[in-house]
């Protein structure tokens, strides 16, 4: 068991160390997410009465756009110095490499989201103290990270890297975005007719399904 998890933790630690020393990813992605929220505020002219209906949407558009940006970076970094080839040459299973990269993306996105959440709460005026919101963010971010890591491993090899990832990623991740927006609507006090009992399992099933499929598919993608 430790033999399987240790490489994952080593990979995660490597990416964290890289990020702590360069700090380029979390800051640029965070600023970008903030910008998305600001632009939405002007585009939609949000008034206090509309907060519960608009804030969840703005929040998740900002998160998912920022997430795509972050995901694009994770494999670009590996590519720059031939790092990916080095990783693949190590005597570690492809599953472990995939999960390590996915966990790194998950941690970065989660960090950015946790930092942005109070800022959004202040700007848009909603309360962040909610277990539903916390669970939603964790489950949705996990789904983002798993699917995003697979697709960025593919997209980074193609000619139009930055473009290919969102084109692949958004149609597949759509159920997660819908579910996250619905759950957040509940969390900030809005009303939806089909409640928690459906959306939370949907996010859970999505995560579980892709946690099984993506490592297998990743090992196929990276064999050369």
């Amino acid at each position: 068991m430790t033999a399987f998890f240790q490489p994952i933790l080593v990979l995660l630690w490597k990416d964290i160390l890289l990020e702590v020393r360069s700090k380029d990813l979390v800051i640029s992605v965070g600023v970008f997410g903030l910008l998305v929220a600001v632009i939405f505020n002007f585009a939609l002219n949000v008034s206090p009465q509309q907060i519960t209906s608009l804030a969840p949407g703005i929040l998740w558009v900002a998160y998912s756009f920022a997430g795509v940006l972050a995901m694009n970076r994770t494999f670009m970094r590996e590519r720059e110095q031939g790092g990916l080839e080095g990783l693949l040459l190590t005597p570690v299973s492809r599953d472990a490499i995939f999960l390590g990269k996915a966990m790194a993306s998950f941690s970065f996105m989660l960090l950015v989201e946790v930092v942005l959440l109070p800022v959004f709460a202040v700007l848009l005026g909603f309360s962040i103290l909610s277990w539903t919101l916390a669970v939603t963010i964790v489950l949705a971010t996990l789904g983002f990270a798993v699917v995003g890591t697979l697709f960025s491993a593919i997209a980074v090899q193609t000619r139009s890297r930055e473009l290919m990832l969102p084109v692949l990623f958004f149609p597949v991740i759509l159920p997660v975005i819908i579910g996250a927006v619905q759950l957040t609507t509940v969390a900030v006090g809005g009303e939806i007719s089909v409640g928690l009992n459906r959306w939370l399992p949907l996010l859970g099933i999505f995560d579980a399904l892709f946690l099984v499929i993506c490592p297998w598919v990743f090992s196929v993608v990276t064999e050369e």
Binding site: V147, I154, L168, P171, P175, V221
Partner: protein
């Protein structure tokens, strides 16, 4: 059931490799299409509620169903390709995806044309429509990844991955859109709400349409596979020619 699925895929591949079978299929598809046009425009009775515009139904429903079938074929062929790595399964997936995208585009366009007079709106975010649109986006991405991949072997593998992941995702998209939709009660009748109202002639015409489009679909996929096969062989010939020129 499983054997039927594999037998039909094998037949599809066999037709793709047989010049005469493709020609027979082409003639058959042409004749069926003429007969089908006559049936849907002349024989099928005019719908008492929806009027003449309802006739687009005999085109719209079969072509939509055939596009779902096409993406199912893409999924199966992609799985088999990843396991066996034989190029013929990749060609099947590619051909089926191309035809599927054309069909789903036609289904969306005919759906929009139908929705305008019946629902009084071009588009509504109804679950079936929305899922179809997402399907379109996924399989356009599938074709894009094929042309943007750096090499052919990579293009084949990446496309197979998108073919599998995309198909697994479809039911989740469908249910999430249904639940999302239930917030705002739909102001429209579902496209098949009049299902019970189909009389026996209409039903027979619809069945005939299904048959016609199934044959047409089979022909298109087989022909496309044959063209891809020719392209591959041409590439081989050109490569070996260039190599022999280099030697002299």
């Amino acid at each position: 059931m499983r054997t039927i699925v594999w037998a039909s895929l094998d037949t599809l591949i066999a037709i793709g490799g047989n010049y005469r079978a493709r020609h027979v299929l082409l003639v058959l598809a042409g004749l069926l299409m003429l007969a089908d046009l006559y049936l849907m425009l002349m024989v099928a009775p005019t719908d008492s509620v929806l009027g003449q515009v309802q006739r687009i139904f005999y085109f719209h429903v079969p072509i939509a169903v055939m596009s779902f079938l096409a993406f199912f074929v893409v999924f199966l062929a992609s799985v088999v390709f990843l396991v066996r790595r034989s190029p013929v399964w990749d060609r099947l997936a590619h051909a089926s995806a191309e035809v599927g995208v054309v069909f789903v585009t036609l289904a969306l366009i005919t759906g929009v044309i139908w929705a305008r007079p019946i629902w009084n709106t071009w588009w509504t975010w109804e679950p079936r429509l929305t899922t179809t649109l997402i399907l379109w986006l996924i399989y356009v991405a599938y074709l894009m990844i094929r042309s943007y991949a750096p090499s052919r072997p990579q293009a084949q593998i990446y496309a197979a991955v998108v073919g599998i992941v995309g198909f697994v995702d479809v039911p989740i998209v469908y249910y999430s859109v249904i639940w999302w939709r239930s917030i705002h009660p739909s102001p429209v009748v579902g496209p098949l709400a009049g299902d019970g109202a189909l009389n026996s002639t209409m039903f027979a015409v619809l069945l005939f349409s299904f048959l016609t489009f199934l044959v047409f679909f089979t022909y298109l996929v087989a022909e496309r596979m044959a063209i891809m096969d020719s392209e591959d062989r041409l590439r081989q010939v050109r490569l070996s020619l260039r190599r022999s020129q280099g030697q002299t």
